[in-house]
Structure formats: C-alpha cells, structure tokens
C-alpha cells in the first residue's frame, strides 16, 4: 500500500491540479506545431480485451488505495485532504466500484458545507500535520474567520470554492444503484445541500449582475494557473515575500511553478477574502471573473438537480428555469462569435485599483481574448443555440485545440497561444476531467464517432500513463503525479458507464435516457497481431 503522505510531501496551491511536484521539466518555450505544418499523431491507439481488463482492475485498485474511510484523496502521496471538484469526479467513477462509497464521498464533502451554502474547495483532514500543505488550515482559519459566513465549527476547510459539479455527480451516483440510494435516503439528504450550494452561487456570486456566477480567486475555476488569469492577476498587489512560506518549491522545480510574484498574488487574494470574514458582500474581490466552464458545469448541475427533484416527486421546473436563464446569460455574456468559443469575462477590467464600483448596476467588464479549454466545455450544456454548437465543434478540431487533427486529447490552452507550454499545469497539458466532459459533450451533440475516438484515446492514455495527473497533449506522455484518483475514476466510468450527463425524466430522446450501451471497445478496437 502506498504510505501515508509525509509532511515533506507538501503541496503548494489550492488545488491538486496545480500542486503536483513537477517531474521531468520542459523548456519553458515548448514549441507549438509549425505554422501550417500537420503534426503527426501517434499511431492510432487500440485497446485489446486484455488491456481493458487490466485497466479496469488497475483503476479500481487506485480508487481502493486512495479511499480514506469516508472520502478519497486525489493522490495518496501528495494530496492528503479532500478536494471539492476532485471528489465529484471521483464519485462519478467510484459509483461503478461501490455505489455506497460514492454516496459517502459526496456526503462527506457536503457535510463541510457552510451555512451560507458554499461548498469549500478543500476539507482538511485533521490527522494530517498543519505544515503538510500550504495554504493549510492555519492560513484559512475557516472555523474562526469564517464563523460569520457560516463555516462549520467541527471541521477546517478553505474559504473559496471549486466548480459546482456536485449535483451532476450526485445524480449519476444515484443512477448507479437507485435501490441502495433510496434505502439510504441519499437524494433526499443531498438535495437541500445542493440547492443551497446553487443558491449561494446565484445570490452571492453574481458579481457582474448579469446572471452568471463569478470566481474570486484563480484557484476557484479549478484551472489554477491558466493564462486566462495572467491579466487579472497583474493588477493584484502581491503579499509581502516574507509573509508566507511556500511549500511547493520543496519538490517542484521553480521553473515549473508560479513565480514568487504570482504566488504572492494568490496569497494576497485569499488573505483579503479571509480578512473580510469570507463575506462576499464586503470582500473587495479585486479578482472577479466569469468563467464559461464554471458556469457550464453549474448549468449541467441545475439540470441534474431538476432530475433529482423530479425523482423525489417534486416539481423540477424551478431548476429547469434556472438552467435556461444561466444558459441564456452564458451565451449573452461569454460567447465570442469571432473566436468561435466562449471566453472569460474579467469583471474588474478597466477598474482603477481601489475604485468602488459595487454600486454599478452592470459592471460589465471585458471579454479576455485568451483561448482556454474552459471556453469549449459549455458543450455539456443541453440547450445551446445551434450556431454556437456548430462553431464549438469546429473550434475543437481547429488549429487552436487540434482534437483529432494535431492532438488526441484536448489541451487546456490554445496550441498556438503565446503562453502555450505542454508541461505546465493548465497552460497546455491535457487533463482527464476536461476530456471526460468533452467526451460527454460530443456524445450529447450526436458526434458519436468523435466521442468514441476520444473515449478510446482517453482510456489508452490513462493506461499508458499509469493514471497520470495530466499529459503532454502532443506526446501523451504522463506528467505530474501517478495513480491520480480522478484519472482512474473517469477511466473507469468510460469503461463501464453509459452516456447520461443529461439523463433524467426530462432528457432528450436519444441521449441520456437511451438504452444503448456504449459500443464495445473490444469489438471495434481489438489489438492487431
């Protein structure tokens, strides 16, 4: 068994997504494909029956080893606590291993929910030493600093959030074993918590006034060091260098980590929020961004919540209406016809430091001309206008993301962007949760062949990389830590599951409620001689 994390295995930022120790390091100026040149893809991958069996067994082994009794750590060696969106993705795969554990995974996270409805992005394990992780419980001080905002007393958490994937995960977990779910009263117990969580985002986080939820820290959208945040971060006065101790540089090469300056900005934003009691109405929120993937996941989760409410015999209409309003706002505020994708809106653009615009009715901000994969993930939202879907499907395989033309797994950032780096966390590498979402989105749009191909490539990559945290999008080479929980979980889901992201009583015919299983990989991809 993997040993318990040692204090020295500390990590540095808010999310496992950015806290891995860098392994082999790439030159900072990793190259994008030559202009006009077609990068050759690796030989078309196949999964034999034996490989599927091995993958199935190994994925379940990872989830068994990373289970800590009431929840799963993202990685046994590096991330010793419970992370919010990790847990949601983990539950989606864990449901195939043990529906009972998958339910507990989500219940444990939701037990740490604040009275104001927020679901914290980290729930700290009290048995792990304080210095094992920065920023740790002694930085966030949730039970004291967050008392007014309703932080729980019995458990320490962070004060920021991560994308709201939880209702979606809860619905999928329920569907894995409805009888067990009903016996344990799972949906009835999580429903009020999920409703409160969505209400928090609607009531406290619509900082732009346009009907979308804003994130107030680069770690909140989950894609922690995306080039999208470079602009908004540049305006932030960093915390003084001596006022905090980074733990990440003990095992990550400085060249692969955020600069001290940026790190000081992360700390500054979090400390400001904390020092205002995590009260959104009072916190300065100098960083405020509307992120398309964060809101697309909220839309998918509103639909899932509608299914949950309907399953419990109540009226799902309010959640459907909320999903429709969010979808309209998403298109209205974040769609860029010129870019052919959604973009992030910087709500503080053009605002002078210290200027108070909280009284503005519509402090609109500016769309940031930075292509992140976050701008493609709205494909999982069911009711996008046709022209938006058409454009997204083109962009996914176009020169900027190159899915199926330049790369096999979609990268986290523009292949041709000035800040592209195939190794650096969210500045180029391919991530499994993103590709799982895209697979669901493609399938939902009827792009069955592309979805099938992506699914196979995700499985092959998970297998070959030993469930790596993330990948070089060109070579498929694994990066970051191995035996990463959501990689194993989502591989298991792709091996076992059926497309059902939109499923439920009101799902569209032909998708989600479909009785057709995923095509058998072995039949179509049997290994050759």
């Amino acid at each position: 068994m993997t040993p318990a994390p040692a204090p020295s295995a500390s990590a540095a930022s808010a999310s496992p997504a950015t806290t891995a120790p860098a392994s082999a390091h790439a030159p900072a100026s990793a190259s994008a494909p030559e202009e006009g040149g077609e990068t050759s893809l690796p030989a078309n991958s196949r999964l034999s029956q034996a490989a599927r069996r091995r993958l199935h067994r190994d994925a379940r082994r990872v989830l068994l080893e990373n289970w800590k009794g009431t929840s799963t750590v993202p990685s046994n060696s590096l991330y010793p606590h419970q992370w919010s969106w990790d847990s949601a993705f983990i539950a989606i795969g864990l449901r195939h291993l043990s529906a009972s554990r998958a339910q507990r995974e989500l219940e444990t996270l939701l037990d740490a929910q604040w009275d104001d409805g927020r679901v914290p992005h980290i729930v700290f394990n009290p048995h792990v030493p304080l210095d094992a992780y920065f920023p740790g419980p002694d930085f966030w001080r949730s039970s004291s600093a967050g008392a007014d905002a309703g932080a729980p007393r019995g458990v320490e958490t962070s004060g920021i959030v991560q994308p709201p994937v939880h209702a979606l995960a809860a619905w999928l977990v329920h569907r894995a074993d409805p009888e067990l779910s009903s016996r344990r009263g799972f949906l009835a117990r999580v429903r009020p918590r999920l409703t409160a969580w969505h209400r928090y985002l609607a009531d406290r986080r619509d900082l732009g006034g346009g009907g979308l939820a804003a994130v107030v820290h680069p770690w909140e959208p989950g894609m922690d060091n995306s080039p999208c945040w470079d602009g908004p971060l540049a305006r932030i006065e960093p915390a003084a260098a001596g006022s905090f101790r980074r733990a990440d540089l003990t095992h990550g090469a400085a060249a692969d980590r955020p600069t001290d300056l940026d790190y000081g900005r992360y700390v500054r934003l979090a400390a400001d929020y904390r020092d205002h009691g995590y009260r959104d109405a009072e916190a300065p929120h100098e960083f405020a961004v509307e992120d398309p993937s964060f809101n697309a996941l909220l839309i998918a989760s509103e639909h899932a919540l509608a299914s949950i409410v309907s399953e419990l015999g109540d009226d799902p209409a309010p959640h459907r209406e909320r999903a429709a309003a969010l979808t309209a706002a998403l298109v209205d505020r974040l769609w860029s016809p010129e870019a052919g994708q959604f973009l992030c809106r910087d709500l503080r653009a053009g605002v002078e430091p210290g200027e108070d615009r909280s009284g503005d009715e519509h402090p609109g901000g500016q769309l940031m001309q930075v292509r992140s994969v976050a701008g493609l993930l709205p494909l999982i939202a069911p009711d996008l206008p046709g022209h938006v879907v058409t454009a997204l499907l083109e962009t996914i395989s176009g020169e900027h993301f190159g899915l199926g033309t330049h790369v096999r797994l979609v990268p986290s950032y523009d292949l041709r962007g000035p800040d592209f780096d195939p190794y650096r966390y969210w500045r180029g590498p391919a991530w499994f949760n993103v590709n799982w979402l895209l697979e669901q989105g493609l399938r939902r749009c009827g792009e069955t062949e592309r979805a099938d191909a992506l699914r196979t490539d995700v499985l092959v990559a998970a297998d070959a990389s030993r469930f790596a945290e993330y990948l070089d999008p060109y070579t498929g080479g694994g990066r970051g830590t191995r035996d990463f929980s959501w990689t194993a979980a989502l591989a298991l889901d792709l091996l076992k599951g059926r497309p059902e992201i939109e499923s439920g009583p009101n799902s569209r015919p032909g998708y989600g409620s479909s009785t057709t299983d995923r095509p058998d990989l072995t039949a179509e991809h049997e290994e050759g001689p």
Partner: protein, 267 residues
C-alpha cells in the same frame, strides 16, 4: 473473474452427484467439501472418488471439527494436525487445491469471561508456528495449500485479522500456507475490509463468503462491490466459497440468489 462454490451441507440432495446437479443449475462452479474428524473425511474416499468420476468439481475442503491445531490441550492439538494432514492428502488425491482451518474455534475469547487465556501470547505463537510448519510442509509435499482462516474475536483469540495471518505465514516461510479469508469475520475485525485485502494480497489463497449477519451474500449490509473489487485488484482468481446460514423459508431459493448477486456485485 471469480468462480463460485457452495459448501456441500447447504445443497439439497442425498449424494454429492445430486448436490452438484442442483449447484450447477443454480449457477455454482464448484462444491466445497467439509472435513469431519476421526479421519471421517478419509473414510469418504470411495464416495468422493465416485463423485469425481461423475464430474463433481471439489477443489477445497473446510475442516468441520471441534478442536484445532491451536488447541490448549496437546493431545487435541496433535490430533488436529493429524486430521488436517489427512484432509490435505485426500484433497490432493481428488486433484483439489487445499484445505482450510482456523487456529481454533469456540475455545477462548478475550472479549468474554474469564478474558485471560490460560496460555501466553508467546506460547500461542509458538504453537501456531509449529502447527503451520508441520501442516504446511505436508501440504507442500502433496502439492496443495493449507488455508489459515482468521476468525472474529468471539470465536478465536489468536488469529482475528488478515495482518496477523500474514505475519505468521511470513515467519513460517512456506508458499504452501496461505490465508483463507472470510468476509463475515473480516467485517467484524478489519478497519477496512477492502484495504485489508489489498494489504494481504500476495498471501490470499482462498475466500469464503457470507454477509454481515452470517447469512448468504446479499442478505446483510456488506459493501460487496468494494470487497470483490479489492479481491480482483489483489489478483485473486480462485473460488468464492459460500459458507453461511440461509434466510427465509426456501433455502433453495436463497442459494439460487447468490451466484447472480455475486456476479452482479463483481461486475
């Protein structure tokens, strides 16, 4: 994928052939025999050879006596070792894989009065190591395996957890001694049954199944998908042998429910 076996006393029918017919129809792949003392198991050889000739699959035997190789009484201990060696020889002759025994059963519990056993822990350990070495050596010569079964604290005071069995087996140093795990006892003793299986993975030789209440799998509250996933991840491919009591008025129906339940839970 696992195979599923059923202990013979649970199956309806007078003869092993009749029991096997029912077992196959109900979805079982094998019959687990029960070995009584006084060399009764050896005395059954003509019957067992006949069953074998008729195609009955009988890979394992589980001891069915009231004294064991960890007995306080030296005479009983010697007899238990002799019985187990005989059972190992019989199962070897039948082409089976091994015989299962606990250290003791119903002899002493540290959780029940008088709480302190008459023998020290060190003496217990010496007795166990001596017995395991003798039986394990015999098993090795016969080409089969001795399965040591940890029991819950109320049934045995010496070997309750998989980790304790692993430690003894390492000390004995014979590949012909492995653990025979039992889901029911593990549910009482292990902090996490699935994690315990992964920890003991290389040492697991046999698996018996019953639910949290000693009834057939599916009748209690064990997390079977997690337990079976761990066993699969541990690389175990042997039988899941049903050793339990049966719920309800229709034992045959209860037996028929087990193979589909285990297959579904292991998927």
């Amino acid at each position: 994928m696992f195979t599923i076996a059923c202990q013979e006393q649970l199956l309806p029918g007078e003869t092993l052939q009749q029991k096997w017919e029912f077992a196959q129809a109900a979805g079982y792949d094998a019959v687990e025999l029960r070995g009584k003392g006084d060399f009764a198991f050896r005395e059954r050889l003509p019957e067992l050879r006949g069953a074998l000739a008729d195609g009955v699959v009988m890979p394992t035997v589980c001891v069915d006596m009231l004294h064991f190789f960890g007995a306080f009484d030296e005479e009983l201990r010697r007899d238990a070792v002799a019985q187990m060696k005989s059972q190992l020889s019989v199962i070897a002759e039948l082409g089976g894989t091994g015989a299962q025994t606990p250290a003791s059963y119903g002899m002493f519990s540290r959780r029940l009065p008088p709480f302190e056993p008459p023998r020290s822990e060190q003496e217990d350990r010496e007795v166990l190591l001596t017995g395991l070495a003798e039986m394990g050596e015999h098993a090795r010569r016969e080409g089969v395996t001795l399965y040591l079964e940890p029991l819950n604290r109320y049934e045995d005071h010496m070997v309750n957890r998989l980790g304790q069995a692993v430690e003894l087996i390492r000390e004995v140093g014979l590949d012909s001694v492995r653990i025979g795990i039992d889901s029911y006892h593990m549910n009482i003793e292990e902090t996490g049954p699935a994690a315990a299986i992964l920890d003991a993975a290389p040492y697991i030789g046999h698996a018996q199944v019953s639910d949290s209440n000693r009834f057939q799998p599916g009748a209690g509250h064990l997390d079977w998908p997690a337990w079976l996933a761990a066993l699969d991840s541990a690389g175990y491919t042997g039988p899941l042998a049903l050793e339990c009591r049966l719920t309800g008025d229709d034992p045959a129906e209860a037996l028929r429910a087990v193979p589909p339940f285990l297959t579904r839970s292991a998927a």
